[in-house]
């Protein structure tokens, strides 16, 4: 078969080029939840470490001016861990359900094909 050796793009190709140039592209990434799952995991880890450090420092010591700093640190750590856990769970579930939905659509199409006697 002979190659189409056009030096000038055809009108359709020029139109296509113009349409592609006018497209709005958001630069979306694959697996959009991944970043949030990692962030949630890190928040959980940092939160637990902060709470643990605060607890170890307060443990067995008398109440003093500095204990309130550790109390604040512990509370902040626990909050961070709770928010991180929530983010981690929500984003993990979102990813899971996205793939579950894709699978469901695929299986429905397969079933429709079987009913129509394609396979």
């Amino acid at each position: 078969m002979s190659t189409t050796e056009a030096t000038e793009p055809s009108p359709r190709l020029q139109e296509f080029q113009a349409e592609v140039d006018s497209m709005k592209i958001d630069g979306g990434k694959a697996n959009p939840e991944r970043r949030w799952v990692i962030l949630g995991g890190l928040m959980m880890l940092v939160g637990v470490i902060l709470a643990l450090v605060a607890w170890l420092n307060i443990q067995g010591s008398k109440v003093g001016a500095w204990t309130s700093d550790f109390q604040a640190m512990g509370t902040f750590g626990l909050t961070l861990a709770v928010v991180g856990s929530a983010l981690f769970i929500v984003m993990s579930l979102r990813r899971y359900f996205r793939f579950w939905l894709i699978r469901l659509i695929f299986e429905q199409r397969e079933a429709a094909d079987r009913i129509a006697g394609k396979n």
Partner: protein
């Protein structure tokens, strides 16, 4: 001229599983490019990336010289990138005419769609009142291609056109593909069985394990294909 489609170091797949491991592929305007490879090589996933249905995790997708990573598949479809998926992608429970009516979403009138479809595939005219799912595999594939023609594509992505069809029907379909290419439509066609497609293509590539291992003239690729399928070449 700027390639109509270019993939540079594309990685991607489904969720955390990468199927493509750095795909480099170029389709020049007006070319028929055959992408060949055994089952599981990543051919359909490559088409998914080209049509915007799968967002690559790394690499760049260029359409007409523009980096379009992250563009929605409907924007690409509206612009003129048309995918005919494996398994035909028609509505099996609608008649041929009803299916053709569904293809008017892009603003083309039903009369125009029917005119294009029945000119290219006269057999569809005889079957216009028949439920699409009850037609033969070849006729269903013709209907799927008629949909592609209805939107006046600039880049046509064909996935396993020959799947489950008799060799004579496949030959007939590829004659249509050659006619479309002659009209200036650029075509990337994915096939597992190379015989029919190599006759109408300008360039062919072999894909193995998510990578393009060889690109060249169809005659040369045909010689290397058996060896590639049997696991001989990975250069």
């Amino acid at each position: 001229m700027t390639p109509i489609l270019e993939l540079r170091g594309i990685r991607g797949g489904y969720g955390t599983i990468d199927v493509l491991h750095g795909v480099n592929l170029t389709v020049e305007a007006g070319q028929v490019h055959a992408l060949l490879g055994p089952n599981g090589a990543g051919k359909t996933t490559t088409l998914g990336v080209c049509s915007g249905q799968i967002v690559p995790s790394a690499g760049q997708l260029f359409i007409s010289g523009r980096d379009v990573n992250g563009v929605s598949s409907d924007s690409l479809a509206r612009a003129g990138v048309c995918l005919v998926p494996e398994g035909r992608g028609i509505f099996p429970n609608l008649t041929v005419t009803e299916n053709l009516r569904m293809f008017t979403h892009s603003g083309v009138s039903l009369a125009d769609v029917q005119d294009k479809a029945f000119t290219q595939f006269p057999r569809l005219k005889e079957r216009r009142k028949q439920i699409a799912g009850t037609m033969s595999g070849g006729e269903q594939q013709m209907l799927a291609m008629a949909r592609a023609l209805a939107v006046n594509p600039a880049l046509l992505l064909l996935d396993e056109l020959s799947m489950g069809l008799a060799p004579l029907i496949v030959e007939e379909l590829y004659e249509r593909v050659a006619e479309l290419a002659a009209q200036g439509i650029s075509i990337l066609v994915v096939e597992q069985f190379a015989q029919a497609v190599l006759g109408v293509s300008n360039v062919a590539s072999i894909m193995l394990h998510g990578r393009i291992t060889r690109t060249g003239p169809p005659a040369e690729i045909a010689e290397e294909l058996t060896e590639a399928y049997l696991g001989g070449t990975t250069h």
